[in-house]
Structure formats: structure tokens, C-alpha cells
Symmetry: C2
Subunit: 139 residues, 2 copies
DNA sequence: AATCATTTTGCAACAAAGTTGCATTATTTC
DNA sequence: GAAATAATGCAACTTTGTTGCAAAATGATT
């Protein structure tokens, strides 16, 4: 059973506001990762740009969403799995896929990032893997 | 024997200008990846901001440098190995490391990106792996 | 349910990053 | 060296993100 936006906000001890509920609902029903601009287009007339920035910031800190690095320099956000919310720090260990055709970025939640052996002297804390190519829908 | 900036520009059929030579020299002597701002700080008084943008763009297209995706939304550039220049398309298959301490990003040229098995229906064209943590110098 | 303390929001103003058009200057070709 | 071609600097602009502050909304308390 999936949690509602209200429940997620409550369990993250964020006060429940129209803006946060709306933005979280957008994430909950989105099939792909969202950039700030995507969210702005979906609720520009309702909420200020600054509010969206601050909301995303709050969600990030609470472990509700995570960012996805990209070559095109646009920060994209996607929902975390529940563990991030509870534990307070991110451990999204899956591969991200960016489609060259449709431009969409998605979380491959089932695809774990393979381990890699670094040169001596380097200590890894976090690993990101972004694969680009053609996605399932565009093939 | 390392190529000079002039030789690299010539073999990429780019006309040789003071700006391009200077910026390429900065890359040739840099131990880490450079953001636009890093370059600007090193030659602000000499070249216009726009010229730096256009130079980086030209270097990218010619396969002289490649971009490194990052979470902090800052595009960083580093020299490609020679193959990219000759073949005309990028195939920088190494891991990138971003140090949380010193903030520097470096190419781990000797560390190949491990292969990963994607779900059915996805076709990979390019793979990026960015490891963050503590680098050799900061340990 | 009304009150009060605490957060959140919208607005304005700003800073930084990146792009485009165009006249001027530099580089290459002949 | 002259002509053709390409690169540069400047101005103007867009997009992205940040900050301070007053007004509005939320959550806790009575
Ligand atoms: Mn993800
Ligand atoms: Mn590299
Ligand atoms: Zn696609
Ligand atoms: Zn370091």
C-alpha cells in the first residue's frame, strides 16, 4: 500500500502545506525524474518559483527525493525509496538512465551500481552511474 | 612526447589564436578538471567570458576535452585522451572522482567503468560513473 | 474554537551562468 | 600583402538559483 503525500510529509516532520502536497503528488505520479522547470510548468500559476526551490530543498534534506547528476547541467529529482526517509541519509544505489530520444531520465531501481576498484588512496563515499542511450519506450 | 597546444589545435583544424592556446595550456598543466569559472579566474583580464564559453564549446566538439557530470550543477571539463581527437567522437570510458574535501574533480584514467546489465529494452550508448569521497591528497 | 508561536510563502531584488547578434579584429588562404 | 574567412569583444538578454523581509498559513496550547 502506497503512502499518500500527506503521510509522507507527516512522517518526515514537515508541515503540511498545499504547495508541498501538490509537488509531492507530482512526484508520486511521475514516471520519470523531474527538473525544477518541469515542476514549475505543472504548477506555475499556483506557486512561486522560490517556493518550488525551497520545497525541493526541504524534500532533499528529508530524504524524500534525490538528485541525479547529468551532463546537461540540469538538476533532476526523483523519489527515494523509503529507507532514505527513515535513515536520514541517502543511499540510492541504483543506476540512472537518460534517453537521448525522449530526453527523459528514469531511475532503474532494480539495477544496482556495480562495484569498482579505485586506485590506492581514494576512499569512496558515494557512487553515481548514469547511462545514456535509448529507453524502452523509444526503441 | 607530449603535444603542445599549438599542435593539438592544428591537428583539430582549429585556427590558432591566443585565447585558444592559453586555455588549452591551462588544461595541459591542470592536475584536475576545470569549471568555466576556474578558467575565467586564470585569464579573466585577458579574454572575454563569451570567448571562454565559445572556446570550450569548440574544444568539446573537436574531442579535445570532455564534460564531467556532477551533482552540484557545475560543468567541469578535462582533457580527452588522443583517441577522441582523432576519431571525432568521445569515448572516455574512465571513472571520475570528486573529492568532498578539496572539491576537486579528477579523471581516473586507469580505472575503467565496470559494465552493467540493463533491464530489457534499454540500449546503452554512453556510461558515466562519478565516485565521490576523499581523494589521495586529502586522506 | 480562539490565540499565539513558529513556519512557510510570495514578492522584490539580486547574483551567477549561459546565449545571441553584430561590428571589429585577427587568422588563414591565395 | 590582399582578400576571404573565422574569432573576438561588447552589449543585451534569458535562465537559473539565492536572499531578506513582510504577509499568510500552519501547528501547538489553552
Ligand atoms: Mn534514482
Ligand atoms: Mn575524464
Ligand atoms: Zn526515451
Ligand atoms: Zn581532495
Amino acid at each position: 500500500m502506497k503512502k499518500t503525500s500527506g503521510e509522507i510529509l507527516k512522517s518526515s516532520s514537515l508541515s503540511i502545506t498545499d504547495g508541498r502536497k501538490k509537488i509531492l503528488d507530482i512526484f508520486l505520479s511521475a514516471p520519470n525524474a523531474l527538473a525544477h522547470q518541469d515542476i514549475e510548468l505543472k504548477c506555475k500559476e499556483k506557486f512561486d518559483r522560490v517556493t518550488i526551490y525551497r520545497t525541493l530543498q526541504a524534500f532533499l534534506e528529508k530524504g524524500i527525493i534525490h538528485t541525479i547528476p547529468s551532463s546537461d547541467n540540469i538538476t533532476r529529482y526523483a523519489l527515494c525509496n523509503d529507507d532514505c526517509i527513515d535513515s536520514g541519509h541517502h543511499h540510492d544505489n541504483h543506476v540512472h538512465f537518460s534517453c537521448d530520444e525522449c530526453g527523459k531520465t528514469i531511475c532503474l531501481d532494480e539495477t544496482a551500481i556495480p562495484s569498482v576498484r579505485l586506485p590506492n588512496g581514494f576512499r569512496a563515499h558515494q557512487i553515481n552511474m548514469i547511462v545514456s542511450g535509448v529507453c524502452k519506450s523509444c526503441l
